[in-house]
């Protein structure tokens, strides 16, 4: 081997490790990358995008985390499990994000959860409700311990929604309930609980597909069953024709439950005012849930020109802050250290006090994340339940006695 060739090899041998060290150093001083997944063209996705952006802007303005800025990398899932997998793989292997948050559809989260877990990255979902996601944490902790959720699961929803329904039935002396529920993985625990709790007081159970466009038959069946309360569980488009036809046809029943579209700031306009007296559970309302809640609501409305819409909003905003807090306490981005830090979370956010249970779901209830209901009134969303949080009294639709 000639001397010059030996010199070249020595140079390369010295330069390569130096380059590698330089890249590693850059990675530790560069921004912390947060992958955000969701259907950004839909209201729940839009809110994931906007709430995470606002949280990151605030955290960065306050100096970032561990001296580093946070950077969001968005990946569109279109609420489709297959597209969700592609989005997550891109985040993990191309963008090389440090953690992943977001998503509102359980089917997507269930599809991507194993991929994120196998790559030992934190996945904080901020809008999915299926209990199966957190059951995986209980069943196979070592694999799924990286999964956390700032939104409530369907079992928690069922417990608190049935409590509210019971109070409504007692207060207004209504004992015939119809359930209109979409066919989706997160809905089943709620429907099962309603069936077992209501018994013969459940006079109609209508299941609709997530892409149902017309609700006239379901509403006729509800009316023919003499239902006095309709308990709706609709996360997709069907919420819109449901509300419009309920009002147009003056179906003589109060509405409660969970209609995702009715949480949107656009709902009044979309129903051309037919949403008057339409009620739904809403995660995140303008009420004194914590000292942070109302200031956040107003700050958000000022920045984006519309109020926080979907249930994903508060969960995402709190989720980003909880992650930032956990990274600070862990002192690094090691996923196992982050799991420990997240498990020790006791955080007062805009949606209440957040502590994770053994299954990594947030604890629910008045002292943690309260269950709040809004009703549409003259174009405004007003909080009507629980009594401690209400900003207005519950009102009957004009055609219901």
């Amino acid at each position: 081997m000639s001397r010059s060739r030996l010199a070249h090899i020595l140079c390369i041998a010295l330069v390569l490790p130096a380059l590698a060290l330089g890249t590693a150093a850059l990675a530790q001083t560069g921004p912390i990358k947060i992958g955000v997944i969701g259907p950004f063209k839909l209201t729940p996705g839009r809110d994931i995008q906007e709430a995470s952006t606002l949280a990151v802007e605030e955290i960065n303005a306050a100096g970032g985390v561990l001296g580093r800025k946070l950077e969001l990398v968005f990946a569109e899932t279109e609420a489709n499990p297959e597209k969700g997998k592609t989005a997550v793989e891109r985040l993990l292997f191309v963008d090389k994000v440090d953690v992943i948050i977001g998503e509102h559809r359980s089917e997507v989260a269930l599809a991507v959860q194993p991929i994120i877990a196998e790559n030992k990255k934190i996945f904080l979902s901020t809008g999915t409700a299926s209990p199966l996601l957190s059951e995986n944490v209980l069943k196979d902790y070592d694999k799924y311990k990286y999964y956390f959720r700032t939104f409530l699961n369907s079992n928690q929803m069922a417990e608190h929604m049935i409590k509210q329904l019971g109070e409504m039935m007692t207060t207004y002396k209504k004992d015939k309930v119809a359930v209109i529920a979409e066919t989706a993985v997160w809905v089943e625990p709620i429907v099962d609980s309603l069936k077992s709790t209501l018994g013969s007081r459940l006079v109609a159970l209508e299941r609709v597909s997530t892409n149902a466009k017309d609700m006239s038959v379901e509403l006729s069946r509800v009316q023919n069953a003499n239902a006095q309360i309709v308990f709706a569980i609709l996360s997709a488009d069907a919420g819109l024709p449901f509300a419009r036809q309920w009002a147009d046809r003056q179906i003589p029943a109060l509405v409660t439950g969970y209609t995702v579209m009715a949480q949107s700031d656009r709902f009044w306009e979309q129903t051309e005012g037919r949403a008057q007296a339409f009620m739904t559970w809403k995660h995140g309302v303008r009420a004194p849930i914590s000292p942070k809640t109302i200031p956040y609501w107003d700050r958000y409305a000022k920045k984006y020109g519309h109020i926080p819409g979907a249930y994903t909003n508060f969960a995402t905003y709190d989720g980003v802050y909880i992650l930032a807090d956990a990274i600070r306490r862990a002192g690094n981005l090691d996923s196992d250290a982050l799991v420990k830090a997240l498990e020790a979370t006791d955080y007062i956010g805009v949606s209440g006090r957040i502590k994770f249970s053994k299954r990594h779901d947030p604890e629910a209830g008045p002292e943690f994340v309260p269950f709040t209901y809004i009703q549409w009134s003259k174009g405004e969303m007003v909080t009507v339940w629980p009594p401690a949080m209400k900003t207005a009294d519950f009102a009957f639709p004009a055609w219901v006695k």
Binding site: K41, A79, V208, N211, K213, V217, R221, L240, M261
Partner: protein, 285 residues
Amino acid sequence: MLLDIVIFGTIWGAIYTILALGFTLIFGVARILNLAYGAMYMVASYLIYSLVSGFGLSAVPAWLLAVAATSLAGMALYRVFIFPLRDSLGRVLIVTAGIAIFLQEVAVLVYSTEPRYVPTALPGSLAILGVRVTHQQLLTLAVAAVLVFLLHAFLVRTRLGRELRAVAQDTEMAALMGIPVERTYLLAMALSTALAAAAGALVAPFLTVNPEMGWSPLLVAFTIVVLGGLGSLWGTIAAAFIVAYAEMLTAFLISPQLRDVVTFGIMIFTLAFRPHGLFGKGIVE
């Protein structure tokens, strides 16, 4: 319950009649199985949405403009994409399916998948024998009846209508008699897409508008044409009401989720056991 089935079956029967007449018209006259037919229904609904929410038009002018614009778009699609391939049924199927998916994706890009709404021309409702029906649904029934009457009058009483029927019956003979066949095809396409657009305009106010909304009407229209057979206006109307009542019976007596299953079932059984349909010439020839 029975009254619900009769009333809602009648309303949907009227809507299906409009849908199926447009679909059968272009197939009957030009032998074009237009899979972009449902997309025209979707395009019209979005146009109304844009004209109302973007340009502040009221409902009725927006409907009329949207129907006219969609009809022109249908003619353009025919001239640019279908005309060169018209001799091959298979290629027409592929190109129209492509157009349908293309238009759907354009709608996603422009409007997103968020559902949109079209305002009602007549808000409110009234009770018919105890069944509450919206004014919009009744308006739909009335407009559908008027459109069927006008179409019948056009086909029977006007020269252009008689030319359409002549081309549908025997293209070569019609051409030999001096009827401009190409112009007749173009007219059939314009009328067909106008009917799809009219159906979209009538239905959109009590449903929602989204990029995928065209596929279900396409399935329904195809089923009705299969069941009713080609070349019979009354056969198409009868088949539309049979499908609508069958759907409503199933929805009310068993489950609303089975509506599409019934429609598919009718199509499969008709194709398998009565390919010539109930009343006219068969679609399978």
